[in-house]
């Protein structure tokens, strides 16, 4: 690292950016997750759910927390990058003596913080209503940080690639949303036919949701320890990809 203070400054800038508009970036996503929780709980409340080892309300909460974390981590880095490109302020980062690794690290770390704050706000609102056992708090943190890092790096790559806000919306609506909704947030994969269960196991977001749920509730559909290594590898791979793209100036420099 050649400019750690510059990297820290960029991280703080990115955190301050979303804190400046906290109604939009923290409160609204937390409220959306709460609405999902209430609507799904009451809409599905009457159905028997023999496969679930805990009540549906409790089952939903950690998955929704992880979904909120993933979507907001992605939104943080992607929106910051595309806004910077559209407004022309990204040139100040290109001009600054920051290495590509420092830029990516700062963006990804800020995305992780945004994801943690949103998911934390959602879980905090549930404190009077649900008791979570938190049998593996460090595992919960690991999944949360890995999820935030994967989505932060992915958002940065999407932001670097995009030319317009529409391009980022394309990735959000056709990649991030379907993969997070089909990650076992609202149901247990044990209740699915074998083919769908296999497809879910191939979705990395499923392992993030399932692993986080295991760390919070102690119940899981897949092996939560097995999921960590490939997720860490995915985070590393995406970090390196974002780093190489920034270093090459792809879609950033003429």
């Amino acid at each position: 690292m050649t400019n750690p203070y510059g990297c820290w400054t960029l991280f703080v800038r990115e955190v301050r950016r979303f804190l400046n508009v906290k109604v939009q970036t923290i409160i609204a996503p937390a409220l959306t997750a709460l609405l999902y929780l209430v609507v799904f709980h009451y809409a599905m409340g009457a159905r028997p759910r023999a496969q679930l080892p805990v009540d549906y309300f409790t089952f939903l909460a950690p998955g929704l927390a992880m979904m909120t974390l993933l979507q907001n981590a992605f939104a943080n880095s992607s929106s910051s990058m595309i806004t910077g490109k559209v407004m022309g302020v990204h040139v100040y980062l290109l001009m600054a003596p920051l290495s590509a690794a420092e830029v990516v690290l700062a963006f990804v770390a800020a995305a992780v913080v945004r994801g943690l704050v949103c998911a934390g706000a959602f879980l905090l609102a549930l404190v009077p209503f649900v008791h979570f056992a938190w049998p593996h708090p460090w595992l919960a943190l690991s999944y949360a940080v890995l999820g935030g890092a994967i989505m932060g790096a992915l958002g940065l790559i999407a932001g670097i690639w995009a030319r317009r806000f529409d391009d980022v919306a394309l990735v959000t609506n056709f990649v991030v949303m379907p993969l997070t909704f089909l990650a076992g947030v609202f149901y247990s994969v044990q209740s699915l036919p074998p083919l769908w269960r296999s497809l879910h196991l191939a979705n990395p977001f499923f392992h993030l949701v399932d692993g986080f749920r295991f760390a919070v509730l102690g119940v899981a559909d897949a092996d939560p320890w097995w999921g960590l290594a490939p997720l860490a590898a995915a985070a590393l791979l995406l970090f390196v990809l974002a780093w190489r793209l920034w270093a090459a100036g792809w879609k950033l420099k003429a």
Binding site: G6, V12, N20, V21, V89, L94, P97, L98
Partner: protein, 322 residues
Amino acid sequence: MTLRARLCAVMQALEVSHLTKVYPNGKRALDDVSFAVPEGSFFALLGPNGAGKTTLISILADVVRPTKGAVRFLGRDLFRERAWCKKRLGVVPQEIAFDPFFTPRDVLRITSGLYGVKPDERWIEELLQRLELAAHADKNTRMLSGGMRRRLLVAQALVHRPRVVVLDEPTAGVDVELRRRLWDFMREINRAGTTILLTTHYLEEAEELCDHVAILREGRLVAAEPMETLMRKLAAAFLWLRPEGEVRDAQLADARLARFRPRRVQGGICLALARDERGRLNVHEAYQAAVAVFGPPVEMEVRREDLEDVFLRLTNRGGRTS
């Protein structure tokens, strides 16, 4: 490179060698451009729109990749030692853009941090004062006028105390009074040892401020010299005088005036002057010849073309009549 070689090379703030930029659409924005900017100089980089000035500055700023060529910055290879060079370079880009989430004071603190420098609050305050932004320091940047934003760009480029500052049209949209104060400040910065590379369309300001000049035309360098040398070489000088009586055609055709190519201008006559090998103008000879033909003049003045005339001639845009 040895230390001795580096010390010698450091006399130049910038050495641009054979710099070429061809954009993907085939446009050759820079074509084999080479020149040097002496350290401590106030250097004007001039050219009509589309001449390649902004492309050159963007390459220095690492916003555009060169196709070919090299740049040495304070004796170091700009493309290989980017981080070292960037820490010592401040750039005012032509386009005004600010993060809409922050105030001018925030912008300066953040920029300082991005350059690895902990914000120096006294220096930030001084920049805000000198650039007349202090009253607006804690407003959102969206609330600033165009001129204020451009001054904020200048403050942003100076906040990490760079050794070389590149100003791409820094006074566009800034009113005359503020422009003058901005230039006074830049002169002070320059006198303190900072090299300044400036592009501007205000050629009279460039002539007044800058000690060196380079002129680009369609991506090619057409001149790069100390301002004084360029003006001495290329700016034509004239002796204008108004004789007491009416000027007759026969007088203008007098053989004694022939080498001064006399012509009628603004109710008088204009005699073209030349320089001897030591650079001195033949004003005395022209005067004596005019007195011999017309008698003592009632009014007289030596006129020299300014940078704008030279610029227009070098960029093939015609000239103005003196």
